[in-house]
């Protein structure tokens, strides 16, 4: 995570970074209500008061891990939803939303695709916004003209990744770590496969994946339960029942160290290094999460930041994280440093990880981490926006409904031994897959 940002003209980036929070008390935990519609749709609802707004999020098991061989299919399908639906074109859809001030978002990650709507709770405005959301989610047209245009925009975005050494390194890291697994390719796809996509591919993907049984719907805001029930029933009434998709295969660990150096004419070398991490709901979730908080997940006070930045001034940003996913997501160490320091900075980061795995955290470090996480738990739920993200994650990953209520107890229960054992079992520093992109990498010898 970045610290001491300067926000010359990019405040949005600052905000995005600030809100990557992890934390957990029994203080003011909102009650999550959950029900299943007659057609099998799972709905999650939290009532909030004080502001006249409603947030709705629909999440589908329709992320890029479901692309098959057509990398980029899930992402383009999601990206095109608001380009045309029913007999409305993109202009009509946008005008309908914007004249009531509503904001619609769509997106796809590896595990899931979502539609999000933020609207005023004023009945007429909310009604118009919801009608629009429903049509966009359920009757996208994927017309040839819109398809060609949006695909060309994606191809250009893919091309642009080539001017960003950080993007190149991240793409390379996932490919190296995941091999042939569906997590290996970037969500937006690659040129060869995106070029092959057809509107029909998107129509079929939408029909098969955007279904009731393959969805969760979250409603948060100033709306009562009966209205939330009606809202969810109506939204889902436009979707086929469908079927729950088969589980994703586990990624295959290569059990060997690997270093990939890619020359790039940049001032800095971007470095990523890591191994396969853990899946959501793994029994070692808390020891691994708290351990990483100490190691590289707590900004300026983490061990990696202390060694790389605070003691040596080698990087602006240096961190590590686990990204829990449907099947094991990555454990990743990341930093960027001037080309001449690449080897040194990498060595220091890896040595820090090794020492942590060997010795585990000190009592003092564990205590400090628990205080930070537990003391900051309330910050995790202090806006509707944060609340809906938390609830959507609980819902999509089928975490227990009392996840937030028991969070701080589980943090409190973690011991030094738990962390040491879990890290030893999950992170083998002799098998790190390491990517260096920059002028600090050796020139290719061939």
């Amino acid at each position: 995570m970045y610290a001491n940002s300067h926000v010359a003209d990019t405040p949005l980036r600052l905000i995005a970074l600030l809100f990557i929070f992890f934390s957990g008390t029994a203080l003011a935990v909102p009650e999550i209500e959950h029900w299943t519609t007659s057609k099998g749709g799972r709905v999650y609802y939290v009532k909030t008061e004080g502001l006249p707004l409603v947030d709705v999020r629909m999440v589908f098991d329709a992320g890029s891990a479901r692309d098959g061989s057509l990398f980029g299919l899930a992402s383009l399908t999601s990206g095109m939803l608001d380009s045309g639906a029913g007999d409305w074109d993109a202009d009509v859809i946008a005008q309908r939303l914007e004249r009531v001030g509503a904001v619609l978002g769509t997106g796809a990650s590896r595990d899931s695709a979502y539609l999000s709507l933020r609207s005023l709770s004023h009945p007429d405005k909310l009604k118009e916004a919801l009608e629009t959301l429903k049509k966009v989610a359920t009757q996208p047209t994927f017309s040839v003209k819109d398809f060609e245009r949006e695909r060309n925009r994606v191809l250009l975005a893919i091309k642009q990744q080539g001017e960003d050494p950080g993007e190149i390194a991240e793409i390379s890291f996932m490919k190296t770590l995941y091999g042939d697994h569906p997590y290996a390719h970037p969500s937006e796809g690659i040129r060869e496969t995106v070029e092959k996509l057809t509107p029909n591919d998107l129509k079929v993907f939408h029909r098969e994946k955007y279904t009731v049984r393959n969805s969760i719907t979250v409603v948060v805001g100033n709306i009562d339960r009966l209205a939330a029930e009606a809202l969810a029933d109506d939204l889902l009434s436009g979707l086929p029942e469908g079927e729950v998709l088969p589980a994703l295969a586990d990624p295959i660990d290569r059990h060997e160290a690997l270093t990939v150096k890619t020359p790039y004419p940049s001032e800095q070398t971007h470095i990523y290094s890591g191994v396969l991490g853990f899946r959501v709901n793994d029994p070692d979730t808390f020891p691994l999460y708290i351990g990483n908080h100490i190691l590289g997940g707590s900004g300026l006070v983490s061990k990696i930041m202390e060694e790389v930045r605070e003691k040596r001034g080698l990087a602006y940003s240096a961190y590590s994280y686990f990204l829990p996913m449907r099947v094991p997501g990555p454990f990743e160490i990341g930093l960027q440093t001037k080309n001449a320091s690449a080897e040194e900075a990498l060595d220091i980061a890896v040595r820090t990880v090794r020492a942590f795995i060997e010795k585990g955290p000190s009592d003092q470090e564990l205590e400090a981490a628990k205080k930070n996480i537990i003391g900051g738990f309330v910050l995790r739920l202090d806006s509707n926006q944060k609340l809906i993200s938390e609830v959507a994650s609980i819902a999509f990953f089928q975490r227990p409904l009392d996840y937030l209520n028991t969070f701080t107890q589980k943090v409190q229960a973690v011991t030094r031994e738990d962390i040491k054992r879990a890290f030893k079992a999950r992170v083998n520093p002799d098998q790190l897959k390491t990517i260096l992109v920059g002028a600090g990498g050796e020139k290719p010898s061939h």
């Binding site: 001491n4 003209d9 001030g101 060309n152 806006s383």
Partner: protein, 458 residues
């Protein structure tokens, strides 16, 4: 406040909030520290921010980037607390903290469970007057900031282009310099420079303390007096005006840099709310930006991205809350097969429409509906509310203007939009920059050839 990127969260019709408009309480301590408090009792949290009236636009040639460098050093210890302890104490109290520097401000913040507010006050008061600037810490942090520059600017073709663009668009306004500073200037900063800069600007009478959250204003005031009340005020320097000279004709630049895509940036000289002779002009420019780029139905998306299919992306922005006069900016990336020249002509054509024709009532209503809704949406974030109060107060507009925003935008007419377009969106005050992408050296990876990951393996 209308910093670029926040537009979506900003965008009102006469409408009454069920919760009522938030009320701001203003206090001033004897030493000059201004304290603003806004209550929000939805969650037991508080955000606390200290804003200093100093930033890149306060800097003179040769020491650009010093405000940002000093921001970094503010985490490096005081007479009372060793380096890094500020962050450790906040972390141990469950808090999040950081800081940011802009052209017109330097600000520090913490977000905490509400009972921890005094912890934040104690630490902020301590570093307001008692920062310990050491050679050892400076040597390291100097390197960190140079790394930050490489990361954010040097290796980012478009950031680099923006930096060069600003230096061409402005003649004498300090906005011509980047916030992070020119590389030579940053490299040449010394501990003595920082000590002097800290001594000049860090004082209670040059700061605003902003608290938003589950608090009582009277309690906040009591704690603020206890923590900050004993700090001595300074004799503050008088800031020179440095108002930009009138531009007398079109300026053009090309930037050749290794990159994959061409890009276009255009900027028209305009007043900000602070500098406008008639503040209506600033609100009208704000609406003009919303007409062009206030969502997917706005003109640039509808006409240039979808209709004519010239742009892969296009945007317009106007920063209402700048301390000095600035730019009404347009930018875009042409689609494959179209040139920046063609896109430039199309953007100029859109500006011509704003000058020659009245915007439609539908469009005006759309912008106003978005402003209304966004006003409510942004109340969901205590941090954002504190940001707005801090920005308006620090640039000298006064926090009261935040509360006026919705009504003022609502009062803007189609004729006023046309009038500002005719007055300001003209070639005499225009600067245009083209990014002319140069090939990357041979051997560099091609993301669009899917070669990534097949590099040298050892």
């Amino acid at each position: 406040m209308l910093l670029r990127g926040f537009r979506i969260a900003l965008f009102l019709l006469p409408f009454s909030l069920e919760a009522g408009e938030p009320q701001v309480f203003e206090f001033r301590l004897d030493n000059g520290l201004k304290v603003l408090v806004q209550e929000d009792h939805r969650a037991p949290v508080v955000v606390s921010q200290v804003w200093y009236k100093v930033g890149a636009s306060y800097e003179h040639d040769g020491i650009t980037g010093i405000s940002h460098m000093l921001e970094h050093m503010m985490f490096k210890g005081t007479q009372k607390h060793p380096p890094g302890e500020f962050s450790r104490i906040i972390a141990a109290n469950g808090g999040r903290e950081n800081a940011f520097t802009g052209q017109d401000y330097t600000a520090y913040f913490q977000m905490l469970e509400k009972s921890r507010l005094p912890v934040s006050f104690e630490l902020e008061a301590d570093r307001m007057r008692y920062l310990k600037l050491s050679e050892v810490e400076f040597a390291k942090e100097h390197q960190v900031v140079l790394e930050e520059r490489r990361l954010r600017t040097d290796d980012q073709p478009r950031s680099k282009m923006q930096e060069h663009f600003d230096s061409v668009a402005y003649s004498n306004s300090p906005y011509k310099n980047p916030v992070i500073g020119w590389p030579e200037d940053v490299a040449g900063l010394t501990l003595e420079d920082l000590k002097k800069w800290y001594g000049l600007w860090y004082a209670p009478n040059n700061a605003t303390l902003i608290v938003v959250g589950d608090v009582k204003p009277s309690e906040v005031l009591k704690e603020a007096k206890r923590a900050f009340g004993g700090l001595k005020p300074s004799m503050l320097p008088t800031l020179k005006s440095q108002a930009e000279v009138t531009q007398l004709g079109l300026r053009r630049m090309t930037m050749k840099v290794p990159a994959k895509l061409p890009h276009l940036v255009m900027g028209y000289k305009t007043p900000s709310l602070k500098t406008a002779a008639d503040e209506k002009e600033a609100y009208a420019l704000e609406v003009a930006a919303g007409i062009l780029d206030g969502g997917n139905s706005a003109r640039l998306s509808s006409r240039l991205v979808r209709g004519q299919q010239l742009a892969a992306a296009a945007g317009a922005s106007f920063d209402l809350s700048a301390r000095l006069a600035n730019l009404f900016a347009l930018e875009g990336t042409p689609v494959e097969g179209k040139t920046v020249d063609v896109l430039e002509a199309a953007l100029k054509e859109e500006i011509r429409h704003l000058r020659d024709e009245l915007v439609t009532l539908d469009e005006l209503q759309r912008v106003k509906a978005q402003v209304l809704a966004s006003h409510v949406f942004q109340l969901d974030s205590t941090f954002y509310q504190a940001m707005q109060l801090g920005t308006f107060e620090t640039v000298g507009l006064g926090w009261q203007k935040v509360g006026e925003y919705v009504d003022k935008v609502n009062a803007v007419t189609a004729e006023e939009v046309q009038a500002v377009a005719r007055k300001y969106l003209v070639d005499e005050g225009l600067t245009i920059a083209h990014l002319d992408p140069q090939p990357l050296p041979e051997g560099a990876p091609q993301t669009d050839d899917a070669a990534i990951g097949g590099g040298h393996v050892r």
